[in-house]
Symmetry: C2
Subunit: 233 residues, 2 copies
């Protein structure tokens, strides 16, 4: 099938544990567009498997013979090449503004969540990925994973502070994109789904307006996020 769609997703030691926040953006965008796709478990150190994409990170999406990478570029490609499905952005202004939400999630939200859940990562990774993960993350955070673990409460407080504007907005509308979820929700929820899959500490409490939104995102698209396999606590 020349128009088959395959998504390379980061996996844990268990093939079915798919935790990458960037891969979740793409998976949800594909579901939003109503496209059928097959996922392929991939590990950090399997660089050669996705070499045809011209770089070494996932998500990598293969549509027929075409290799795509970078979650934002993939979303734009899906929007432009599959106009028959529901829109990911709504309009050009929606698309331009979604780019800020995507970038804010990359630069602000995900690093804040990473400080909380990174210490739980080695235990779920494939043995061959553990050294890669520890080395790259300890350089990124400037401290050991054990130090990060000891600072979790502080990191959780910082995350709650970062979420202030998002909490206010989700107290007033059902989704970031309005009445129904769209790509901005995929970006932000991808970060929370990462923590859900890892089964790390709860990032938001039930009395937070973001909790109800997260529940709606877990149920969206036939419950694709809720039915995903999670690590044991």
């Amino acid at each position: 099938m020349n128009d088959s769609i395959r998504l390379f997703e980061l996996a844990g030691a268990d093939d079915e544990i798919r935790f990458s926040p960037y891969c979740w953006r793409t998976r949800l965008a594909l579901a939003h567009k109503g496209l059928n796709f097959k996922t392929i478990a991939w590990r950090f150190t399997e660089k050669e498997a996705i070499a045809a994409s011209g770089q070494d990170k996932v998500p990598v999406l293969v549509i027929g013979e075409r290799w795509l990478h970078d979650s934002w570029d993939i979303a734009v490609h899906l929007e432009d090449h599959f106009p028959q499905g529901p829109s990911l952005f709504g309009c050009s202004q929606g698309r331009a503004t979604a780019r800020f939400v995507s970038q804010w999630t990359n630069d602000v939200l995900q690093p804040a969540i990473a400080r909380i859940i990174a210490p739980d990562m080695p235990a779920i990774l494939h043995e061959k990925d553990r050294a890669y993960f520890r080395t790259t993350r300890e350089i990124r955070f400037g401290c050991s994973l054990e130090t990060l673990a000891s600072e979790r409460q502080k990191a959780l407080t910082a995350l709650h502070q970062i979420l202030t504007p998002m909490r206010a907005v989700l107290g007033k509308q059902s989704f970031l994109a309005g009445d129904a979820p769209a790509y901005v929700d995929h970006c932000v929820f991808g970060a929370f789904q990462w923590a859900n899959i890892i089964n790390s500490l709860p990032l938001i409490e039930p009395d937070d307006p973001m909790f109800a939104w997260s529940e709606r995102m877990l149920d969206a698209y036939g419950g694709i996020a809720r039915s995903a396999k999670r690590c044991h606590a």
Copy 2:
């Protein structure tokens, strides 16, 4: 004229110094819609002049007999009641996502800029507003304006950090709303125009992608922002 539009704007001791970032959002939104309006200089302590709005903050927009307040609610009103002008949001997804940008500007960007420029404010305010400004801001920041002034370099570094995702986006597209400015640009630029009018230290350097965007915003809508009166340095 029953459909006349009047905008109450915060002013300095000099009637023509209009510095409020929230009022700039409304002024730019009115210009975007191509509406004619008259502005009225207002000071923090002139609560009775806008009492008909049911609260005590500007912007207050009076359209005929109708009193509106809150910059977000005003933008939504303009979009819904003046559909003939260019759209402020583009579509419902654009509107919903713009609410996050507006809220992020309120909660994150403006407080960061305030820490840098608040010490310059008393000198430009009307004498009757100075005590109000100092008291409310020193409570908000938890320190004296003089302490804030001594921490400016640190606050400038913090601001540059906060701008990371916005800088990345504006390195790739002309405006936050895409090819042309819209309400998301009005929100974010309003905060920078506050510093422009106060003539405080430069917040962004010429080699920053945000600088070129700021220049485009100064020129937008017939140069309404560039031609505004500024304080002497």
